[in-house]
Symmetry: C2
Subunit: 682 residues, 2 copies
């Protein structure tokens, strides 16, 4: 943080002048000395914290890593007794962590190269941490260093009762302090000036078509950056199916080849009238299958070029320390040669295969059971009401629905707990692997919950007009409700109810301004956002051939969704920590799997469609043969999808070349270094 | 080749004393000086070669790489006018090429580490090339160096007529000389003593159960080593289905649940009698689906541990020079920074996608057309014969078969040429990629040829008893014929007809002994062997549920096949060059694809089986529902297969750790070396 340039100094002052700069940790390392320290993370302590505990914690944060500290900068807030510690990071710590995380940065020749501390002088902007690392990266590094604070030996935490305050050797200090109630919260601080700039470029200004993805990634970090990039990409991808839907609905209303003839023969039943023609059906089904493949393949390319652009292509998570929650017997990691907890891979796989998979299956079974029970109960209630047409039996008609809603909610709550504990118990070494397993579990259940009814209608009841109605109502009603609850209500609360308080806070010129960020609710994560997109994608690719306007509705929804999500994350929640990631993780797979399921469902829906049935009857094709034909078509389409997915390379050529360059250089470097360093592991 | 130890010196003498050691190239490099030079490769020149051409070629072979030579050792045979050049390689060239190829060798601590020339002293046996590199590797390196001889500038080849003998700058010299007829052949030499040892351990000794895979790999190289390892693995894997087949055939003859009842009701039709029961059918079908997945998954694990054992896990083909046949505009390779021909990836993909795929499709269509024509012709001929029962019409009955055989043969020949030229035209940079694309093309066609009839019977005619008969006859007759033509005939020819000549040759104490190896036919490659295994695997996994003894017959066949193939490659053919490879390449994929197709075919066969049909009729289940049920079962089984394949890791844990170690070290090395070397590419 030496030598701040002119650029951007203005708003740095506004954020840093809040704190008395003199109270920051004094650093001895000459390259880390700076006049202004940027507050990055706030540790909210309990109200009744003892000064001795706070001093002990601050010293831990300040002490070098060799002595078991985090080598960060700490600021005690107003005074020694306050209930906050503001944390920042000196240059050396930031640079070392950048290497540990495997982030790529701009080399002097303009390439993105995995950062190396030894070679730091050849990287651009390496003297100015605010240019070199993004805000999100700096804040994540602080969290990363805090998370890996370990007790050097068994010791008592000063100022904390004996019952809670004893640390075992190598115990995770932050986790322990949170359990003991000493630390209430650790969260990254907003930078008001940058946030205002970001908001102006993002949603409140004239920017209608694009999003400032680089700034979003810089301010909020990798996961958020990828979410909004995906949302952006996906929204644009909705344009072709939307146009097709409009054409099929308004330009070819029940038209196409021979559909008119069928209509006359069928005697003009109203139900048939509003369903698309055979050829329209076919076009829509085949189009949506190919579309879903192409979208995901091109997203992979986009995703890999984004991750190269953001320096996230060579993350070294595998070789870094395990995540804080990981436990195992202490031993030497055979790959890196470092002392750390070890847990055998096969044991994790056994746990996943023999416990997690069956349990998740059980819960999915419970969902199906609930649905069956609901339909059964409804039939019973209806029968009873028909027999005895009383007020009581009329009220009883609501019982199955109510019971089903209560059942589903309870099941959902239980499942969420079970899923989290199962994933903890599976004991994943890497954070990304933990996230993927957890997301997969919740995802499967949520998806089942959303789609069970639609599948039931499509495959069991085989009632296409009901499916169409249901789909339309889901698309219109639930999205309206969603947008309301997600944005409008919090917006109103924020604008009209919290505004006076806020006004008061803004006059408050001291550390309370930072502390006040805690009053916002914590960011709930992107799960709900992704699942919304996935469910949309499901509606579109699985069932859209019965309701061609789906894409149009989704497109309208997404255009507002982008702004709404942006507003939400900027204004309504506390800033989240965001780990560097190189793609959207398990969501990618989920979308791809849905693509394959969509082939099956579309073939099935085609088979069911009354037009196709009439067409067959007319042509004298037996039911058996038409089914066999449908199976053949399905298999061929799946094959085509797989060939397409295989043919389109997952990364653009230029990214591949960059990646291979790095691989080649590291291979060469290995050869050269062997002679120098010797190959130490056994 | 300095300091030959005592060990193995005996048989080295027998192979090297054939040549006058004094006539070898004199080396100046002190580490390459050796008393005895091992003849590795023989270049057979045309009979009427000019001494000046031979001298020019020898000097090219001898000169250092800096001066555009191959830096190898050459020996002119008996005298300057002879029509052979014997080639060997000095230590420095071998070591440098080992690094270029990315071979792993034993480090001083026992690990397999990618060889680095700078660090050569830390590798075991680095002073004794015959221990350090396998014979196959040494010979491949000689070929590799010869293949990359390029003309430094445009020049005339001395002693060759102007019309053929002008080299353009950077033209491939060996290819040019072969085209000009100067070089007739380049082939690796057998080492009689080693070969005798290998044969004794392999097939002529008491070794019945195992094969000396390491020695095979050392003597014949990677591709051959992997083929025999796969054959071995696959033969063992046949034991469980063979046992199941025996049990189903002899212990449960038409038995199982309720099949007896069905038989009585069906009135004891003979055809029904010899087909397995419903439950037997089911067991066989489900078993063979799971079996095929497990076999391929465990083979992947075996394959990766073999390639680690043989030091083939980190081949650097991507970063090496392109294959000799590769052409393109000269430019700087963006990855390695070397000057070489470049050809854009997208253009190759366009060629594959827009020309190769449709052309292959066209030929497959021609196969189907041929088959349809045959059936049509047969029906016509039969009709004609029934109408006019004459001798002419009786003879005409054979016409369709004869025409079909001629058609198929011609088509096959045309296709082989087309496939080779198409693959050349696709212009693959790496040899392995070329091989994979070529193999895939030929494979698809051959497979189609083999299975078209069976699929026609199973899916179109839907005649299970015909399928059973056909399968049994194919298994028994074609395998007998195969074994005869492959081994017995060549064996007899070799033993009784060539023996006198051979005897004479063995008395001949000079270079003719080496030249004589040319009299053997060149090794035809492993394509035919692999396709035989693939077709077997196809019979077993696709159709075995109609003929449970398939696995037993295949097991018997393979036990003899191993010995026969071993005899063939050792005695009946010239020794082949064999590139280092890290797996069986595209064959792996072919077997896996077959595994998926097997699910579909088994579900279909179950649906067709008369027992199942009767069972349904009896249970009052409609045909439509049973088909839908079969589809459901198929999809679930494919899902199970995919989950199984995903759950079983592709490499054993210890190989993964070794691999990650190397990745970690090369990442670290890259960081360290950046500072030292700078990052040169732009």
């Amino acid at each position: 943080m030496t030598s701040l340039g002119d650029k951007g100094e203005g708003h740095r002052e506004t954020t840093t002048k809040v704190l008395n700069q003199g109270s920051w940790t004094q650093v001895s390392c000459p390259c880390c000395v700076s006049e202004q320290v940027e507050p990055l993370v706030l540790i909210q302590l309990s109200d009744n914290i003892q000064p001795v505990t706070k001093r002990w914690l601050i010293s831990l944060i300040e002490v070098s890593e060799r002595d078991g500290g985090a080598a960060l900068l700490a600021h005690p807030g107003e005074d020694e007794c306050g209930d906050v510690i503001v944390v920042s990071a000196p240059r050396c710590t930031l640079l070392r962590a950048t290497e540990d995380l495997g982030l790529c940065k701009k080399y002097h020749n303009g390439d993105m190269v995995a950062f190396s501390y030894n070679d730091r002088d050849n990287f651009r902007n390496v003297d100015d941490m605010q240019e070199f690392l993004t805000l999100a990266e700096r804040q994540y590094i602080v969290k990363y260093e805090l998370d890996f604070l370990r007790a050097q030996k068994g010791q008592k935490i000063p100022g904390v009762p004996e019952s809670q305050g004893v640390l075992k050797a190598r115990e995770n200090i932050c986790q322990k302090l949170e359990k003991a109630g000493v630390i209430k919260d650790i969260f990254p601080l907003h930078d008001k000036q940058r946030l205002t700039d970001l908001c102006r470029n993002w949603y409140s200004g004239k920017q209608i078509w694009g999003q400032p993805l680089d700034s979003i990634q810089a301010y909020f970090g990798g996961t958020v950056g990828f979410y909004f990039s995906f949302l952006d990409f996906y929204t644009w991808a909705l344009v072709p199916p939307a146009i097709l839907g409009l054409v099929l609905t308004f330009l070819l209303p029940g038209g196409g080849s021979g559909a008119g003839v069928v209509k006359e023969q069928a005697g003009g039943v109203v139900e048939v009238d509003d369903s698309p023609s055979v050829s329209g059906h076919m076009v829509q089904a085949v189009f949506s299958m190919l579309w879903s493949t192409l979208v995901m393949e091109f997203w992979k390319r986009r995703s890999s070029s984004l991750s190269h652009r953001w320096g996230l292509l060579h993350l070294a998570e595998r070789f870094a320390e395990p995540r804080p929650g990981f436990h195992g017997t202490l031993g030497i990691n055979p790959v890196t040669g470092r002392l750390e907890p070890l847990f055998p891979e096969w044991q994790r796989q056994l746990r996943v295969g023999l416990v997690s998979v069956p349990l998740v299956g059980f819960f999915l079974g419970m969902v199906v059971l609930g649905m069956t029970g609901f339909y059964h109960g409804e039939a019973l209630a209806q029968g009873f009401h028909q027999d005895s047409d009383s007020l009581f039996s009329g009220a009883l008609l609501y019982l199955p629905s109510v019971a089903h809603i209560i059942y589903t909610n309870m099941l959902g709550n239980v499942y969420r707990t079970v899923a989290m504990q199962l994933t903890e118990w599976e004991n994943h070494r890497e954070e990304s692997s933990f996230q993927n397993h957890h997301t997969t579990k919740v995802l499967l259940f949520t998806f089942f919950n959303y789609f069970a009814v639609l599948f039931h209608i499509a495959f069991y009841k085989q009632d296409l007009s009901l499916l169409r109605k249901r789909l339309a109502s889901l698309l219109i009603v639930t999205q309206l409700v969603n947008q309301c609850t997600e944005v409008v209500v919090p917006f109103i609360v924020d604008r009209f109810f919290s505004a006076p308080q806020k006004k008061q806070q803004e006059d408050d010129p001291n550390v309370d301004k930072l502390r006040a960020q805690r009053s916002l609710p914590p960011f709930p994560g992107l799960f709900a956002e992704y699942i919304e997109l996935l469910v949309q994608f499901g509606y579109l690719s699985l069932f859209s051939c019965v309701y061609p306007l789906t894409a149009v509705l989704l497109l309208l929804n997404n255009v507002t969704e982008i702004r709404a999500d942006a507003y939400k994350i900027c204004k309504l929640f506390r800033k989240p920590f965001s780990a560097p990631v190189s793609n959207i993780g398990v969501w990618q797979t989920a979308f791809e799997v849905l693509g394959f399921v969509s082939v099956m469902s579309n073939c099935w829906l085609l088979l069911l469609s009354p037009r196709v049935r009439e067409f067959c009857l007319e042509g004298g094709i037996s039911g058996r043969n038409i089914i066999l034909f449908a199976i053949l078509v399905e298999h061929v389409l799946i094959l085509v999808k797989m060939i397409l997915a295989f043919m389109i390379p997952d990364e653009p050529d230029w990214v591949r070349i960059k990646r291979e360059q790095i691989e080649f250089h590291s291979m060469q470097a290995l050869g050269k270094s062997l002679k120098v360093s010797g190959f130490k592991c056994t």
